[in-house]
């Protein structure tokens, strides 16, 4: 069972739709411990991505994901721009030339992408950032590969792990990003970036569920 370029496009579109739908929610989370723009920024970026996809010439999955990354870098701004931009640029690099990907490919690509985000943002687990949703998801994928689980099963587990990681940010005191300026006052709020990252992986599971 594999995911092809159309599946990836479907996933990107689904994420764009979900971000639009949850724009207020993401922005509200950011206003509690940030500057009230995460939903607005991600929505602006993903709308630009969708527009870009229209005209995009058919190509491999890597090229597609690279385009997504470039577009996010130049339209999102803030912390989200470089971070999500890097995530997709790295996903693209890791899937360069591929017309379809397996669970193994996806796992390796996401691992590389998350490492790229950490190289850019210097965040560790428990810093109350999107990393808290992304890293556990990658570990879950590794485990799924080891268990020779299906693509669908792997995606399901990674989405669950991301969900737990997202909720786990609530009690944390932020050590990276805008929220860290609040010190203790950042505890008790769910991190917006972890929330959007969970959405991203949850939609992969939902869109590719039958892969």
């Amino acid at each position: 069972m594999t995911v092809d370029r159309d599946d990836v496009v479907a996933w990107i579109r689904a994420f764009a739709d979900e971000v639009s739908a949850r724009k207020e929610e993401l922005t509200a989370l950011d206003s509690a411990i940030g500057d009230a723009d995460h939903g607005i920024n991600m929505d602006r970026g993903m709308q630009a991505v969708v527009a870009k996809l229209e005209g995009a010439p058919d190509g491999d999955i890597g090229a597609l994901l690279k385009t997504v990354g470039m577009t996010l870098v130049s339209t999102v701004g803030g912390a989200g721009g470089p971070l999500y931009g890097t995530l997709f640029l790295q996903l693209g690099a890791a899937t360069a030339g591929k017309q379809e990907i397996t669970l193994q490919d996806w796992t390796a690509a996401l691992r590389a992408a998350v490492q790229g985000v950490q190289a850019r943002g210097k965040a560790e687990l428990q810093d109350k950032t999107m990393i808290d949703a992304l890293l556990p998801a990658v570990d879950a994928l590794d485990a799924a590969v080891a268990d020779e689980a299906s693509f669908a099963e792997g995606l399901k587990r990674s989405a669950e792990a991301a969900h737990e990681g997202m909720l786990a940010t609530i009690p944390l005191v932020a050590r990276k990003g805008r929220a860290s300026y609040l010190g203790e006052r950042s505890a008790g709020h769910q991190d917006p970036g972890a929330t959007s990252s969970h959405l991203l992986l949850d939609l992969a599971a939902r869109t590719w569920g039958d892969a």
């Binding site: 922005t27 206003s31 411990i33 940030g34 500057d35 009230a36 723009d37 607005i40 920024n41 602006r44 870098v73 130049s74 339209t75 999102v76 701004g77 803030g78 912390a79 989200g80 721009g81 470089p82 971070l83 850019r120 943002g121 932020a174 050590r175 990276k176 990003g177 805008r178 860290s180 300026y181 609040l182 010190g183 006052r185």
Partner: protein
């Protein structure tokens, strides 16, 4: 939300169009991507200063582009740091062959976007020095965090480093002077009301009629603590106290005192604040030898103020006094 705007999505572009229409003698504006560039750029043989950040802090940064200050500014969406392509375009437009200084306020987004931009520019052969401003004493135990925010000192740094660049000093020296200003400057802000991000449509934070936010950021980030509203006499102590403790000022020191309005606070109140600050510093034997009073680094329509103290020496004083001709700051010409 009541603002003098049309569609919230168009605020930044329309404000830039207004800036361009009003100050064609000083600046050029590009819209894809957004940049505000000195009209006579690139100035050959002069180190170029490029800054940028989210919009909503006007006149910073676009209003500081011109002779004696910035060569270019990169305006992001409201409260959202600009993107690497803007910084790359601006850097290329102003590079006069003597190198470019990126003035970056210490916010994760700004830092990462400027980093990516610097990587791009260097890969194309440009000489880029990045200077990060992190002067906000409201942020505590900054050791394990993203560090302190860049606020009021940015304005003073852009003016002073701009004067040094105008003297045709070399890249390393201009960057060093900028870092000295950051090292000698400290700020703290407070808010009486919240601001409303146009695209968000509602106040960033709730605050009672008898409350104030001490240590607030310039994006309406909550600050050190929520306190009961107090007379300005006490408020100035709450802000100036931590500043002088953080950067030990000693008797006889000379400082530049910058009392800044957050956007919704009128000048009459800022002069009352300055009067209290002046008395506070006199009490500690510190002399204000230069001052700046007004709304120069704002937070949309937030009511409140910030205080910045910059320890001066003859060199910094001379550069501060040097001519400047921008939409936001102008003297000597």
């Amino acid at each position: 939300m009541k603002k003098l705007i049309n569609d919230p999505a168009d605020v930044v572009r329309e404000a830039l169009q207004g800036l361009e229409a009003a100050h064609a003698d000083l600046i050029k504006v590009t819209y894809d991507p957004y940049t505000v560039v000195r009209a006579d750029a690139p100035v050959q043989g002069k180190v170029a200063l490029v800054s940028g950040g989210g919009s909503g802090h006007e006149p910073m940064h676009g209003g500081f582009v011109g002779m004696g200050m910035l060569d270019a500014a990169c305006p992001g969406e409201v409260f959202t740091s600009p993107t690497p392509d803007q910084m790359e375009a601006a850097t290329k437009a102003v590079d006069g062959g003597a190198g470019v200084v990126h003035i970056v306020k210490n916010y994760t987004g700004d830092v990462m976007n400027f980093e990516m931009a610097a990587e791009l520019c260097r890969s194309e052969g440009a000489e880029v020095e990045a200077v990060v401003v992190d002067d906000d004493v409201a942020v505590q135990d900054s050791l394990y965090t993203a560090g302190r925010r860049g606020v009021g000192t940015t304005v003073l740094l852009e003016k002073i480093a701009g004067a040094a660049a105008e003297e045709k000093r070399p890249l390393k020296e201009v960057a060093q002077i900028a870092r000295d200003v950051n090292a000698m400057g400290r700020s703290m802000g407070m808010a009486l009301t919240s601001c409303t991000v146009p695209a968000a449509g509602k106040p960033t934070f709730e605050i009672g009629d008898d409350e104030m936010e001490i240590g607030v950021g310039i994006h309406g980030e909550p600050g050190r603590e929520r306190r009961a509203f107090a007379p300005v006499h006490e408020i100035v102590e709450m802000m100036a106290g931590p500043i002088v403790e953080d950067l030990p000022f000693s008797k006889g020191d000379e400082v530049l005192a910058f009392v800044n309005g957050m956007g919704g606070t009128p000048l009459i109140e800022l002069y009352v604040v300055y009067n209290e600050l002046n008395a506070f510093l006199k009490g500690r034997g510190v002399t204000i030898s230069r001052n700046l009073i007004g709304s120069y680094i704002t937070s949309l329509e937030m009511a409140g103020c910030s205080i910045t103290l910059l320890k001066l020496n003859d060199e910094l004083t001379k550069l501060w006094d040097a001519p400047v001709k921008t939409a936001g700051l102008r003297w000597g010409v």
